[in-house]
Symmetry: C2
Subunit: 409 residues, 2 copies
C-alpha cells in the first residue's frame, strides 16, 4: 500500500510523455491515408489551381467590358469562341469581347471574370448581350487562390481527414510519409479471468478489459496486440511482459485493483531490465492505482482491473502518451470537448480529479449532460455514457445547471 | 436547366432513404467488431456478474455483524478463512464471522458486504477488529447488477464502440453478426480532370473528389470503390455506371456543376435500366445541383463537382442514406452536434438551407464557431473547418453571438 500514498498529479504524469520515443515513419498509399498522421510538411509545389478557372457557366470577359450593363442598357460583346474543358484557350479576349466557358474552364488571356449564362443572351452566333455587370474576379478562382506555390499546405503531425486526403491528391501525393502506428501489447491478469470462449465457472468472469482496451487502442490510432490472460504468477507475468516489450512499443497490463496484485505488478515491472517505476498512483478517480514504468524506453502501464477504471485511465492518461508516440502534434491532436449543462448535482472529493461518466441529451435546444454515477466495475455505465467530465482537483462538486466540458468517448 | 427549377427540400430527399435496401449480414470476429453495426439484439444469457463480487480488498461479512462498530467500539469477528480468487468459497460465513477477500473475489454464503482492509485490524490469525460499520451491499457488485439474465443488452442497429466490444466479450460473443459495409462506387467526371500521378497541363486539375469522397465513405462505415475518371462522353459514363451498379450498392458520380454536364448526367441516369430520377436539385447551398436516381433499387447520386459542395452534400445528404443502408438505427445513429456561439454575422438567403463551414475555438471558456466564408471550389476552407452549421430555410442570416449547433466533419 505504501507506494500509493505518494500519488502523482495528472499533469505531472502527462509530462512524462516527452521521454518516450516517437514512432518510426512509413509510406502509405493515398487510399489508406485517412486517419494517419503526417510525418513531413507538405509544401505546395504548384499553384492550386494552376490557372484561373470559371466557377459558373457563362462567358469569360474583361469585367470592365460589362461595367454599367443593365436590363435596360445591356453590354453587347463580340463572341470570340468557346473554351474547351481541360484545354488552354488558343485565343485571347479583348475589350468588348467574350468567350463561352463552362464551370472549371480556363479563363482566356485578357479576361478576369465570368458573366453567368443566366444574365446573358445569345443574339446571333457572334454576339451576346450582358444584362448585369460583373466585378473583376467574379465567378472565378484565380491561379494560386486555394494554395500558392511554396506555401506550407499541411504540417507534420496533423491527422489526415477526407479533406486533407483530397489536398494530398491535389498536390500529386500518391504515396505519403506517415508515422507508423504504435503497437500496444495488452495483457489481462487475474486468476478469476477466463477467455471469452469459456463459460465462466462460479467465481470467474470473462475477460472484458482486453477487448475494451483493444478497441480504445485502435480508435486512438494504435495497433492492439493481445497477449491473453496471465494468472497471478510472478514468473508468468514477467515472461509475458518481456515478450510484449520485445514485440510492441507500449504495454498495458490490466488487472490489479487489489492491493496484493498491485504490489505484485510493481515487483514484476521493477524486475525487468532497465526498468524504472515513474508513477505509482495518480490523483484521479477512478484510476488511482495506476502504475507507469519506463522499461528500456518503453512505457509499461499497470491499469486498474475494474472495467470503467481501465477505460477512463486509458482515455485520460494512456491515450495522450499513445498520440504523442504516434507523432500527433499538439495542434493536430486537439480532442473534441462538447460544452453542456449538468442535469443534476455531482458530488466530488477534493484533492483528486474526478472523472464522471455522462450521457448527453438535447433538452429544449440545450445540450444536457446527465451524470451516470455507478460502481466502476459496472460496464453498463460506460455503455450508457457518451463522454466524461472532469471535476477539478480543487472543486468539491458541481451543481445542477453548471457548464461542463464533455470529452466524448 | 429547367429540371433544377423544381428543387426538392432536404427532408423530402432524406425521406427517400426508406426505399433503398438494407445491407446484408455477415459475421466478424470480436477483435474486428469496433465501428461495426450490430445486426441482432444481444440478450443476456447469464447474470453479469454471475455471482456477488468484492469491489475492495478486505473482509466479506454480513453487514449486520458490523452495525455500530467504531474506532472506540470495534466489532470483533471470527476469521473463517480466505476466499481464493476465481473459486467458489467452500465455506459459509455466519453472524459474527468474516472471510478475507480480494477485489473481484466471490462473496461466501451468508455475507452481503465487504469491510475495507483499511478499516480493520488483524488481531490474531483467527480474529479481526472492524472499526467502521458497512451497509448491506457496500463494496460489492451483486449477481446480475450489471446486466440481469434475459434482459436486452444491446439492440440491433447500434454501433459498436470499445465498451460495447467489452460487453460482447462479457457475454461470450466471439463471433458477431453485423451488417455488411455498403460498397460505394465513386466515379469522377470531367475532361479537365487528371489522375493524381499526372502533372496537370495548363487548363487541367488533379482529381480531388475521388479521394475526399472515398475518405468520407470510409469514415461513414462504407467501402469505397473508385472507378477513376470518365471523360464527358455519354457512352463512357453509362458503361462505367453500369459496371459500378453491378459491383456496388450505391454510386456517386462527382462532377457536373456545369449546366451541360448536369443535364448529361441526368440523361445517362435516365437511360439506365429500371432507373427513375427522384431528385434534380435540393434546396441547400452549397449542393443545389445534386441528382438522385433509383436505379434498380440502388441509389445513384450526381454530386456537384466543386470539392466543398461535394463534401457538404455527402455529409448532410448521402451519409444518412449510407447509414440507413448500413443498418444503423435512428437511436444508434445520432450524429454529434456541438453547441457553440457564432464569432460573427453570417448572411444567408431564404428559401434554402445554407451550410456554413466553421472553425471551432475555445475563447474564455466558451466554444466559438468562426464562419469560413469562401468559394465552394476552394478546398482550403474545408481543411480549416472543424464542422458545418445549418442556417435554416426561413432564416435570413445569423448574428454574431448566436447559439449554433456544429456538425463535426
Amino acid at each position: 500500500m505504501d507506494h500509493f500514498f505518494k500519488v502523482t498529479h495528472l499533469p505531472d504524469v502527462l509530462a512524462y510523455r516527452s521521454q518516450f520515443c516517437r514512432a518510426g515513419i512509413e509510406s502509405v498509399a493515398l487510399d489508406a491515408v485517412c486517419g494517419r498522421i503526417l510525418a513531413a510538411d507538405l509544401v505546395a509545389d504548384l499553384d492550386l489551381p494552376g490557372f484561373s478557372r470559371a466557377t459558373m457557366d457563362g462567358y469569360a470577359v474583361a469585367a470592365a467590358s460589362t461595367f454599367g450593363a443593365s436590363e435596360a442598357n445591356p453590354a453587347y460583346l463580340a463572341l470570340k469562341g468557346r473554351v474547351s474543358m481541360g484545354e488552354k484557350p488558343a485565343f485571347g479576349v479583348g475589350p468588348g469581347e467574350a468567350a463561352g466557358i463552362a464551370t472549371g474552364g480556363m479563363l482566356p488571356q485578357g479576361t478576369d471574370a465570368v458573366a453567368m449564362v443566366e444574365h446573358t443572351e445569345l443574339l446571333d452566333p457572334t454576339t451576346i448581350e450582358v444584362y448585369r455587370s460583373v466585378a473583376p474576379g467574379q465567378h472565378v478562382i484565380a491561379a494560386g487562390e486555394d494554395y500558392a506555390l511554396g506555401n506550407i499546405v499541411l504540417t507534420s503531425g496533423s491527422r489526415i481527414r477526407p479533406q486533407e486526403a483530397g489536398l494530398l491528391a491535389a498536390f500529386g501525393q500518391n504515396t505519403i510519409r506517415v508515422f507508423q502506428k504504435p503497437r500496444v501489447g495488452i495483457v489481462s491478469t487475474g486468476d478469476e479471468i477466463v477467455p471469452v470462449e469459456q463459460i465462466p465457472a462460479r467465481g470467474r468472469i470473462r475477460d472484458i478489459n482486453t477487448h475494451t482496451l483493444s478497441g480504445q487502442v485502435l480508435a486512438a490510432g494504435g495497433v492492439p496486440v493481445a497477449y491473453g490472460i496471465v494468472s497471478d504468477d510472478f514468473d508468468d507475468l514477467r515472461a509475458v511482459c518481456r515478450q510484449a516489450l520485445d514485440e510492441t512499443d507500449m504495454v498495458l497490463i490490466s488487472g490489479g485493483s487489489s492491493v496484493g496484485i498491485r504490489d505484485f505488478t510493481v515487483r514484476v515491472l521493477d524486475s525487468l531490465p532497465q526498468s524504472r517505476i515513474l508513477v505509482q498512483g495518480i490523483s484521479i478517480s477512478p484510476g488511482k492505482p495506476t502504475i507507469l514504468a519506463d522499461t528500456g524506453g518503453k512505457a509499461v502501464w499497470g491499469l486498474p482491473g475494474h472495467v470503467v477504471s481501465a477505460m477512463v485511465v486509458f482515455s485520460v492518461v494512456v491515450q495522450p502518451f499513445l498520440e504523442t508516440m504516434a507523432g500527433l502534434s499538439e495542434a493536430g491532436g486537439k480532442r473534441l470537448h462538447v460544452p453542456a449543462r449538468l442535469s443534476r448535482n455531482v458530488p466530488s472529493a477534493q484533492g483528486r480529479i474526478d472523472f464522471i461518466r455522462v450521457r448527453l441529451s438535447q433538452t429544449g435546444g440545450k445540450l444536457m449532460a446527465e451524470p451516470l454515477l455507478g460502481k466502476s466495475g459496472l460496464i453498463n455505465t460506460m455503455v450508457q455514457a457518451d463522454g466524461l467530465i472532469a471535476v477539478d482537483i480543487n472543486t468539491e462538486g458541481l451543481d445542477c445547471g453548471e457548464a461542463v466540458s464533455v470529452m466524448v468517448i
